[in-house]
């Protein structure tokens, strides 16, 4: 081992890293929720839409779920300026995150909606439920229960995936770590602290999601 650890130096950059963590938080928060709203519409379109709508939505989903988000990010970041669209790195990464999140979430939600059994819908029909009542009392409780855990997991996955924003110069957690490591050469210490912050962030997120799920949908989600 030719390396002397200097944790003191590294920890003095903690405030800067936490500022980066805040950027990671709002990047993923905005990206994920926008993606979720889009995904709900796309999933509904995929289940109830006409053949053309269904085909184009599934093409979009298949494309984004089968390509690395890093490559689509490069495509957006370097491709759009070619056609005269100049976005800041943050916007590029956010758009890429939304596009990816919407695709994965559409896939998940469609699976959940499809898992509502036909007999349950027929039972609701027999009881004279209106469409809104069916959504409120049959589809949503069922879908929420089935999908809550996978969707919370996807949120964690997207927090971790947002690290690729660093490559495009966004000063989120990993990007800040890049910069500090380049200035100080304390790479191992800085990246370890960064990893620690990610672990803490995602544990907090999982805990909050599990509590909300238990309170709102009576889902027994595992935190660990």
């Amino acid at each position: 081992m030719h390396y002397t650890f200097q944790w003191g130096v590294a920890f003095s950059y903690l405030p800067e890293l936490l500022a980066g963590a805040w950027v990671t938080f709002h990047l993923t928060f905005i990206g994920f929720w926008t993606g979720l709203v889009i995904a709900v519409f796309l999933a509904v379109g995929q289940v109830y839409g006409g053949p053309w709508l269904r085909r184009s939505i599934s093409t979009y989903v298949v494309f984004f779920t089968n390509t690395p988000s890093l490559v689509t990010a490069f495509f957006i970041f370097y491709g759009l300026p070619e056609v005269g669209i100049l976005w800041s790195p943050y916007v590029c990464v956010l758009v890429n995150l939304i596009l990816n999140a919407a695709a994965f979430l559409t896939d998940a939600i469609r699976g959940g909606v499809a898992s509502v059994r036909k007999t349950e819908m027929e039972a609701a029909e027999t009881l004279g439920f209106s469409m809104l009542q069916k959504i409120r009392y049959v589809i949503v409780p069922h879908v929420a229960k089935v999908l809550y855990a996978p969707i919370s997991n996807l949120y964690i996955v997207f927090i971790l995936g947002s690290a690729l924003a660093a490559i495009f110069g966004v000063e989120e957690l990993t990007g800040t770590a890049f910069n500090i490591a380049a200035r100080t050469f304390r790479s191992i210490e800085i990246y370890s602290i960064t990893a620690g912050i990610y672990v803490i962030m995602t544990v907090i997120a999982s805990t909050i999601l599990a509590l909300v799920g238990r309170w709102a949908f009576r889902v027994k989600a595992r935190i660990f």
Partner: protein
Amino acid sequence: MGTHGLSQFEIFFTWQNALLWLRATGITLSMAALGCGLGFILASLLVYLRTWPSLLLLPVRLLVVAYVEIFRRIPFLVLIFLVLFGTRAMGLRMELFWVACISVTVMATAFIAEIVRAGYESVHRTQWESAAVMNFGRLRTVLLVVLPQAWTVIVPPAFSYFVMFIKETSLASQVGVYELMQTGKYFNNIGVSPALSFGTTLAIYFALSYPLTRLGWRIERRLKHRFRRPGGDDGLPTTRVLAGV
């Protein structure tokens, strides 16, 4: 057009470049395959230790739990840099390809360990008990009773993680491994338009990932159909809700 006097198409469409892309595809695939293969072996070992009922191994168990929980919550990009600088600090000057392979292994071990554990848990407790009654040792119980029943639960999500890691290894381009992403960047740098260079990268990733995903669904449907266990739920197919264990 272009400053070289050559059009980007003349630069790009040569058979040498086709070989370059082929090589890059091979590197991407071998990183994912080596990492996930090793990860699978290590994960099986970890779960074997984690589910050991003896109190003596409690510290080992806690370590395994900590490992799994921590490495599932670190971005792959950060992990690659940690492995890179960590191995360099230890004086190991290994090739970047191996750095990436180690990173994939470290992360795949944590993810697949959760899958293998879910497989263990899917086998009813009475099966363990009857094996104990038959005087089976622990290793024999796992190999002859638990795994033959658990593999139908383990294989589909493990396979979908393998496909996920094919895409995840694109981040290895950041330390300079010449896989698909890095090759796309190279062509972009020598003056090929982003649409062509990154488009090729996208197309190859898609051509790798899509058939494998379809294959994964087929495997899953087959296994579900053939080995339907009484009382097993027939809810969501696991591989469809990617990354959610």
